[in-house]
Symmetry: C2
Subunit: 141 residues, 2 copies
């Protein structure tokens, strides 16, 4: 069990709600979760943390670099464990499933485009919205 170290390293004291949220992400049950998702999953497993706390903790984890926040279409933001390596996303419009990808060529071209125009990139988001043509895509997640 190394979660407390993660929190300590991030300058956050290890409290019950923070440990629960972190281990939910580390459990790998769902890689991409909204605040609502986290809240409901915790409730379902008998741990009751307040919704406000979930929001606070997610934001703190994002600032601490433990989680990455994504703004997908539809308004609500989604979080995932920060595993160091940047990647982009394909979101299935049918089932909401999120798949990750990385393409060095795309990354390189973005850098060139930005610098050609006098910008220095701080962040970027490439979201592909698509229909997955596989049959394991029946329902909304």
């Amino acid at each position: 069990m190394h979660q407390p170290e993660h929190l300590k390293n991030a300058g956050l004291k290890s409290t019950v709600p923070r440990l629960k949220v972190l281990s939910l992400f580390e459990s790998g049950t769902e890689r991409h979760m909204s605040a609502e998702d986290v809240y409901k999953l915790l409730l379902a497993s008998g741990d009751d943390v307040g919704l406000a706390t979930v929001y606070r903790v997610l934001t703190q984890f994002e600032q601490a670099g433990l989680l990455v926040r994504h703004y997908f279409e539809g308004g609500k933001s989604v979080f995932e464990l920060n595993q160091g390596k940047h990647h982009d996303h394909i979101v299935c419009l049918q089932c909401g499933r999120v798949e990750e990808f990385y393409d060095a060529g795309i990354e390189a071209r973005q850098e060139k485009i930005a610098s050609d125009r006098g910008f220095s990139i701080r962040d970027h988001a490439l979201h592909i919205y698509a229909d997955c043509t596989k049959k394991q895509c029946p329902h909304k997640v």
Copy 2:
């Protein structure tokens, strides 16, 4: 004056609020505007349309293909005239300025990535968030 034709072609009857919103976009004052931006600019120029109407009209124009909607970070959506040619965006984090770009190589790679994984692209959004290094970037727009 050809706005009424645009509306007619889109199957929308030409009403005062719709014409005002459309000509605001066509005036080129601001290329990218949120509902709030449109509402305030119209009020400022003496035309008072209701906020609800602005939202409705923007959504209708999007559905009719007259406008394109973008979901940038920060939650609120932003609209721009649909000029047929797809492009992506660089958003300056300092001044909020939005610059457009198109890169055939990036487009092609996206297609390949998606089809390799069994997805068919319906839409995509590539947003680069950056600092523009030029001096004409003093303030928040």
